[in-house]
């Protein structure tokens, strides 16, 4: 059995667990704990502390694992461990919470430093009324035009599939370019 993995990262409450849940064939193995901080509890009641784990079986010889990183900075020691050997990574950002953009940028840079693998940025909650426009998110995150910034609704399987496919296309393109 061959296994490969991709990592889904991003700030606290960006929608990483939901993203994996939408495409995983198993119930996501989540390591969630109740949130102790009042400020964070106002956003959601529990959070990932070690990792989320989803699986997509390709055939009897190949399995894709999706790992979701903990979003809270105090668990960032897990990030490097999870990034080891990844095919690529997805940075999730909550389009309705501009206060998290700076942290998303920082997480992106951190993961780029861990491994020079392809990545895409998924602007989650694009269906929300107060979601930032994609181009505004791009400016706020200071993303180069060449970086793929994709609209996403983590509860919508189709947009999640598109994000995963775009990352795979990037991986394929990089292999073709011989990098």
């Amino acid at each position: 059995m061959q296994t490969v993995k991709m990592v889904v990262t991003g700030p606290f409450s960006a929608g990483k667990t939901q993203f994996i849940q939408s495409v995983s064939e198993i119930d996501v193995v989540a390591t969630e704990r109740k949130i102790s901080s009042d400020e964070e509890r106002s956003v959601k009641s529990s959070t990932t502390v070690a990792m989320d784990f989803g699986r997509i079986t390709v055939d009897e010889d190949l399995v894709l694992y999706l790992f979701g990183t903990p979003g809270q900075k105090r668990f960032d020691f897990m990030w490097e461990i999870l990034s080891e050997g990844m095919l690529g990574f997805i940075v999730m950002v909550d389009s309705t919470r501009p206060e998290t953009f700076r942290e998303a940028r920082s997480i992106l840079e951190t993961f780029r430093a861990y491994a020079p693998t392809p990545f895409v940025v998924a602007a989650n909650k694009q269906d929300a009324e107060d979601a930032w426009e994609l181009e505004d998110v791009r400016h706020a995150l200071r993303l180069d035009k060449k970086i793929k910034l994709l609209p996403c609704v983590a509860t919508d399987k189709n947009t999640v599939k598109t994000v995963l496919l775009e990352l795979l296309y990037s991986i394929l393109k990089e292999m073709d370019s011989g990098k």
Partner: protein, 268 residues
């Protein structure tokens, strides 16, 4: 036993706070990244400070503050010989070069500046020597630490924010397409811009220019915000393809694997 440790575990601000709260008397000796600093306290108040090759003498302090010119400074160093700073101070006051207030204000300003420099040190070994007092030939002051501690805390917050923005100094910089014309840069910014090259890491640029971690981060952050440069993985650093990334090292098999994944996800 003397208080000793690493700045990675206890920051300069925390140390100052400790000295302040415990009304300590003695000298904090800090071995920083490239130089050594001596900060002396009496009853929890800043008394004296010097860093690196600077001797913290009255002549040097007055020269740096432009109270005496380069020739006068040299003449004092050459001729004052064994004269203490107190004697030199009296001489200069009697000769009408400076007032007593000038001397005290400039010494306070210089000592505070030395402590400020230490705020940017995130690496280094420190020890607090209870028995070590300021050299007897120097003039010491009595400066409350509260304001310095507050300023240090502010800088610490700034450093934390800058670390969020620029988490790794192992990245390098490259110019964006925006031309560098009609841009007003400071001397320090030019020093960094001069070395912008994908081959140079931020750490290398900082070391070459003798900039601390906070200084290089602050400058680079400004250049990034202005859209003049962007972060880049250094070309000299080999791109590490983890052997675990693909179960096979054969390029064609790797491509086939990715195509299989694409097919599977499309079918979900």
């Amino acid at each position: 036993m003397a208080l000793r440790g690493n700045l990675r575990d206890i920051t300069i601000t925390q140390l100052l706070n400790l000295v302040h709260l415990a009304s300590k008397t003695g000298t904090l000796v800090v071995d920083g990244p490239s130089e050594q600093a001596y900060i002396s306290f009496r009853d929890g108040k800043l008394a004296y400070a010097r860093v690196g090759r600077e001797d913290g003498s009255l002549a040097l302090v007055l020269h740096k503050a432009n109270k005496i010119n380069a020739n006068q400074y040299r003449a004092i160093v050459d001729r004052a010989g064994q004269m203490t700073d107190k004697e030199l101070g009296l001489l200069l006051i009697n000769a009408g070069y400076v007032t007593q207030e000038d001397i005290l204000l400039n010494l306070q300003g210089y000592f505070t500046e030395v402590v400020r420099r230490l705020f940017s040190w995130v690496e280094g070994i420190f020890r607090f020597e209870n028995d070590m007092l300021p050299p007897q030939d120097r003039i010491s002051v009595r400066l409350d630490l509260e304001n310095i501690i507050i300023e240090g805390s502010r800088q610490l917050r700034e450093l934390e924010q800058l670390q969020d923005e620029i988490p790794s100094l192992d990245m390098s910089l490259k110019f964006t397409e925006r031309p560098l014309t009609n841009v007003n840069l400071s001397v320090d910014e030019w020093k960094v811009v001069k070395f912008v090259d994908p081959k140079n890491t931020l750490r290398q640029i900082a070391n070459t220019n003798r900039l601390s971690e906070i200084e290089i981060r602050r400058i680079v952050y400004g250049l990034l915000q202005a859209g003049l440069v962007e972060m880049y993985r250094p070309v000299s650093k080999p791109v590490q393809q983890s052997p675990k990334q693909f179960p096979t090292q054969n390029k064609e098999e790797q491509k086939s694997l990715i195509n299989k994944l694409i097919g599977r996800i499309r079918s979900l």
